[in-house]
Amino acid sequence: MLKRLTKLLQGIGSRMLERIWRLGAAARFFFYTMVYSGESLRRPQLVVREVYFTGVMSLIIILVSAFFVGMVLALQGYNTLQKYGSSDAIGVLVALSLVRELGPVVTALLFAGRAGTAITAEIGLMKATEQLSAMEMMAVSPIARVVAPRFWAGVISMPILATLFSMTGILGGYMVAVPLIGVDDGAFWSQMQANVDFKEDIVNGFIKSCVFGVACTLIALFEGYDAPPTAEGVSRATTRTVVISSLAVLGLDFVLTSFMLSP
């Protein structure tokens, strides 16, 4: 009985220790990425290539889901608002929920699933096939050549994607609210403009998306770089990327929102 208990405690302890160890390694990894950023930013062609793969290739899934999210918001919102006779406020509801929350958060979740997994798998496989070691042999830092361009590409792409998400979502909401339901076109936009503040809502949403971009990209890169160089290791690292990124995004969202809402 006592033996089993000690074994359990040992298991918990070693797992905790492993987590903390990885956290420290991730911090060091982040530091190196920052240090080597200058080197990779001097070759913008690398970053542009990665923006294409992480940003432009994610565009379709982001835009399509944004359109549907906006349409659903308008439908659901109308259903409830109409009970209180304020269906004109549908524009405000759609715009505020998209710009403040859904734009950055849903984009980050989709980004982690679409681009984050690709980054992890790519870097994990590079490591498994010893391409990273080969670079080190040639005195090319893999962090400068492989990691830093992907990091900056993710940090650049994420806010752009989130902004496009919000805009497309609002257009989707407009499509449902005005032609389909018959809310007044002028009331839709004017109520929205009266209640959405540029600094309070739009800029704060933008800041959120930047933070999520850093978090998602960094997690994906570190998981790939730290993956055991086997097929199983890469597959596990890819799963962990999605899980940790999603949790990190939702947790960070709470922290950022509580900061932004406090006066």
């Binding site: 940003g55 432009v56 752009i160 496009l164 403009q193 009266a194 739009i202």
Partner: protein, 166 residues
């Protein structure tokens, strides 16, 4: 430098992002409506501002002429000091009346300006002397109940003098 199709796509991507940001700022946000341009500030003291908030509109005859810039509490008079920024294009006489109204039954609150007859206009950092507080629903209801009670009391005693009074 060699140009590739990837560059083109990334360029389109970045341009679309910028366009979306502009769209959000102009069409969705209040960047266009809040840019009043040159303004002058006046203050007004209220005993009760209700739910008035900073950035609430200031209207005269229903037209937005300015915005509430800030709200402070004066510890000497125990009144709320509301700072209002009014567009330079609009001049108001010195004896303008400032009141706090509610748009709709439960809508947001705004400051309404009713122009007086004075020939001297309000200047920067002036204070509006005549104000009317926000209507607090609970006060109104209790007053109504009080009046009702006194009314029935009065009819019993036969004295109908106080019925018309508040």
């Amino acid at each position: 430098m060699e140009r590739t199709t990837i560059d083109l796509w990334v360029g389109i991507f970045a341009a679309a992002g910028l366009a979306a940001m502009m769209g959000l700022a102009m069409k969705v946000g209040n960047l266009t409506t809040s840019g009043i341009g040159e303004t002058y500030a006046v203050t007004a003291a209220f005993e009760n501002i209700g739910g008035l908030k900073a950035r609430a509109p200031v209207k005269s005859a229903g037209v937005v002429v300015g915005r509430v810039d800030g709200i402070q509490f004066d510890t000497k008079t125990y009144e709320a000091i509301v700072t209002i920024k009014i567009d330079k294009r609009y001049e108001f006489p010195k004896d303008t009346f400032a009141s706090i109204y509610t748009s709709g039954l439960l809508g947001e609150q705004y400051v309404g300006l009713d122009a007086g007859g004075d020939s001297v206009p309000l200047k920067n950092n002036d204070k509006i002397a005549h104000t009317q507080d926000a209507v607090v629903l609970e006060k109104m209801i209790s007053q109504f109940l009080y009046n009702k009670a006194s009314e029935t009391g009065d009819t019993k005693s036969g004295d109908k003098k106080q019925v018309g009074e508040k």
